[in-house]
């Protein structure tokens, strides 16, 4: 029988950023979205991206390197189990990307393995896989990125509509006791006052008592990596003004939508 494998971009611990407590975060390779502001552009290509990077910590000679490695899913589960001393403060394992559901079968296998070992699970997803709800029972802490309320605008900028994401958010809100929705705010895309009100409208009629929201301001931390991948960074003036950000916060809070910062 063939062993299940998973392509990984990166793995490491972080504290309370992608789920509660200290977490072992696996970044899975491959994404079906093409967000122009992506801070991990090397994660997009399924099978990995060729990057031109310094050879090592102390040798700045440029070499080409593939962005991902392959690991057996069973090994990953074993590693996650052995790592349990580091899951303090209610931590556990988070799967993120790229977009983890691009490797749906492996993700399901891993989540099942983690749950069998009583490890707290979290996943961050763009929500656009139609079978995502099948995983809801395996995920203790679900983070869904929701980039635009207008699917057509979403498709124009990101190259993929988000109708399924919208459906999956609704299903999560009705089926789950927890959901964190993350909205990346990018000037010229979704950061205007009108946009804020439209987002609020989208959620106003939904059951959001168990849902929290995080507004992520545009940044350019990954800009250099676009060049390392031989890609052009096209976002201009993406930064969100303090006024627009404040308006967003006010709009959400005034409408009873609970904001958090991680």
């Amino acid at each position: 029988m063939l062993k299940m494998k998973v392509q990984l971009l990166h793995k490491g611990f972080n504290f309370s950023q992608d789920g509660p407590g200290n977490r072992l975060v696996y970044h899975l390779q491959g994404c079906n979205f093409r967000c122009p502001w992506c801070s991990n552009p090397e994660s997009m290509a399924v099978g990995g991206a060729e990057m031109t990077v310094p050879k090592s910590f102390d040798d700045k000679t440029l070499v080409n390197r593939l962005s991902c490695t392959e690991q057996e899913a069973d090994e990953l589960i074993d590693e996650a189990v052995r790592s349990s001393p580091m899951y303090f403060d209610g931590g556990g394992v988070t799967l993120t990307g790229g977009e983890p559901t691009v490797q749906f079968s492996a993700v399901r296998y891993i989540l099942e393995g983690l749950k069998l070992n009583n490890i707290h699970t979290a996943m961050e997803t763009n929500g656009c896989h139609e079978r995502l709800p099948e995983l809801y029972g395996l995920i203790d802490y679900l983070i869904m990125d929701f980039k635009h309320y207008d699917s057509q605008k979403h498709a124009e900028v990101i190259g993929h509509d988000n109708l399924i994401t919208q459906e999956n958010i609704k299903k999560a809100l009705s089926q789950r006791e927890q959901l964190l929705v993350r909205i990346p705010l990018v000037n010229g895309f979704n950061a205007s006052n009108e946009d804020a009100l439209e987002f609020v409208d989208f959620f106003k009629c939904l059951k959001t008592e168990n849902c929290s929201f995080e507004l992520l301001k545009y940044h350019e931390y990954g800009k250099d990596k676009w060049a390392q991948c031989g890609l052009q960074y096209t976002v201009e003036n993406g930064k969100v003004s303090d006024e627009d950000y404040s308006f967003y916060i006010e709009a959400f809070v005034d409408n009873g939508l609970r904001l958090i910062r991680t």
Partner: protein, 789 residues
Amino acid sequence: MSRIHYSPVKATEMAKLLFKEERSLKRIDGWFLARELARKANEENGEQPREMKAALELSKILSELPISLSENAVFAGTQRDAFARTYALINPAFRVETFCGYCDPTSVFDDIEQNEEFTVERINSLREYTKKSDYVRTLTCVYDKYENYTAEVAFFIEQVTGHLVPDFRPALKYGVKLIMDGIDCRLSVETDEEKIINFNAMKLTLKGVVMLANRYADIAAQQAKTADAERKEHLILLESTLRKVPEYGAESLFEAMQSYMLLWQVMCLEQAPNPFAFSVGNADRIFEPYRKMSGENRDETAALFKHFLVFYNVGDRSWAISQNVIIGGKSNDGEDLTNPTSYAMLDAYYDMNVPQPILSIKLHKNTPIELYREMGRFFFTPGCLTPSLFNDDALFVTLNRAGIYKNDLQDYSVAGCQEPLIMGKDNGNTTNSWLNLPKILELTLNDGYSTITGKKIDTLAKKTDALTLLKNIRSEFYKNVDYFSTHMADAANGASKSISCLPVPFLSVFMGGAESGIDTRDTNRQGTKYNASGCLIHGLSVIADSLVAIDELVEKRPQDADRLIDALRNNFEGDEELREFLLSCPKFGNFNNRVDSEAAEVANRVSDIVKSKKNYLGNSFRADWSSPSTHLLYGYWVGATPDGRKAREELNYGVDPLFGEAGSGLGFRILSNMRLPFEKFNGGYASHFGIDPKFFKSPDNEGKGEEFKKRITDPLFFNEKNTNTSPFYLYVNVTTPETLRKVLANPKKYAPSGVYIMRIHGTFVNFLDLSPAIQQDIIMRLDLQSTSI
């Protein structure tokens, strides 16, 4: 009640001026004068038993060495006259390739600059006299005998001076007079001739410290005659204090600190010119009873400690290196021992930010959160000293397993950088020997030939083909570790016997000698409750990574066995492909089961080998996995290694991964680290995290201190899911390479005081005082990828 009349603000101002005075001293000549007086004493007294000879030498020094009292001094005393400017690493002119150890005990005479007073004839006269001493002659024989092994550092040995933790508590409490009375009682019934001599010698040195106190009292009295009213009041207090302590017991914080400083001064003078790395011990516990007696508040206590800290700084670069002050911790019963003096001492340290003495903090599971909050300012203020951290919970287990009685555990403290010793009871002879595992691997792979110089160092392995050798590398390597360790132990014991030619009656009083009548350095009879010799073991992760890389080569490309040996010999020149393969093999520190298990095995087996070697008294050597910048110095003598490391590059530091090889972040690094058998590291070990401050988000330093607990010390030290003995030592530098490069490029902007404190190994250093190689090593080893959170 003896309390100073200066306000805390005034006393602080004086401490800072005193430090400025000290740092302006370019010449440190007192040690030379002390050794001249010792020579004079010998000439005057004729043939004497060694112990008495040492006491008479010290007595002469204490009675005639010029002393003074600065107008900014609150206390009398200095340790300046005990030190020479010899510590290579804080010399900006130092170059790694020139380092050849401290094996020539007369090289110190090169450190004194000639002038009209210290003429070349005068210097050479004392040098020649010293060369004829039993100590130098026997030590030279030891170094000559083992030169073939030490020249390229398969191992190294040294005669240990300093590096102990005296217990001055009885002297503070009862005064040295009562100790002398006790010795008299013992003398009245003692029949052992050697002990009688020793007891008398000890008594003579105790009289010496009283004499020194009275000399300072005379100066205070003299100065009081012309001082202004405020200073006069203080000088009167100082004089009366010096007439009282250390002869009699102290009854206030001021008296206790004054008593302590004079005892320290004499202890160091006894070992001039290089009494490095004595430790104060559990300082907050020593002084808190006296603070309670005299009732100083936090600010007043801190002000006194600022003068105490200045006392430990010698000359323009604070040459009295690696003297350790430790606070916090728990009792034998698990009770927290942090007290008001602990916090006042932190205030003093933070405000003074001086390069010496080193601050260490003992932690345990129930350390109050307040202590972590107060530590935050040290970690998160750029250029500020940072305490090294000890885990009492794990260290108690490790020490108890190594034979330390439960009643003594709370009295462990740290000599030198990180070596745990029991105050007043433990001669660990800590830096006696140094083992270089990667050099031994190099010699194992090359039939005893050095790939650095091509010289034959020894005949080690049966001649065999390369593939067979690689397949059997573990058995051959460990066999050779045992072989070299045996020679190392012989050599180290020889050095210990040499230094025993210089007995230390004064120190011995505070190491159990006042009861036993045996000198601490005696190599025939054990004068301390605990005794051992230290062995600093180098290259753990280089060896683990290398053994795994050899396995991978044997598994995947056995046809390249000869090629590997050639490539190592040629430093990979012309075979970058093979080096790439070796570099791609798993490396320790990334939570890879295979290589982490290998590292644990290396640590286990080598610790056991070291433990199996016996010192001069038949006690075991202690495994100490630390490398106080010697990972750099010894790496210079190691050829290319099978992990892909190139010739002459530095080795890994302590038990840490080789820099740049653990790129998976702090979580995985801690998990790898947890696999190591810390319970076998009873000699200590070293580990460093270079931490990027950006990971700590709290708005203030106190909050960041709490975060530091939650994210660094709790998972590392107090991890409930770790079923092994937990790690027990860590030091950190919280900064980035960019910040340090800016400091170097523009010191006036980033370090206007001229002092920017960093840690190397267990000691603070002024980053700006260091040699460029050490500065670059600090920058490189920050290795932030390995600690990303």
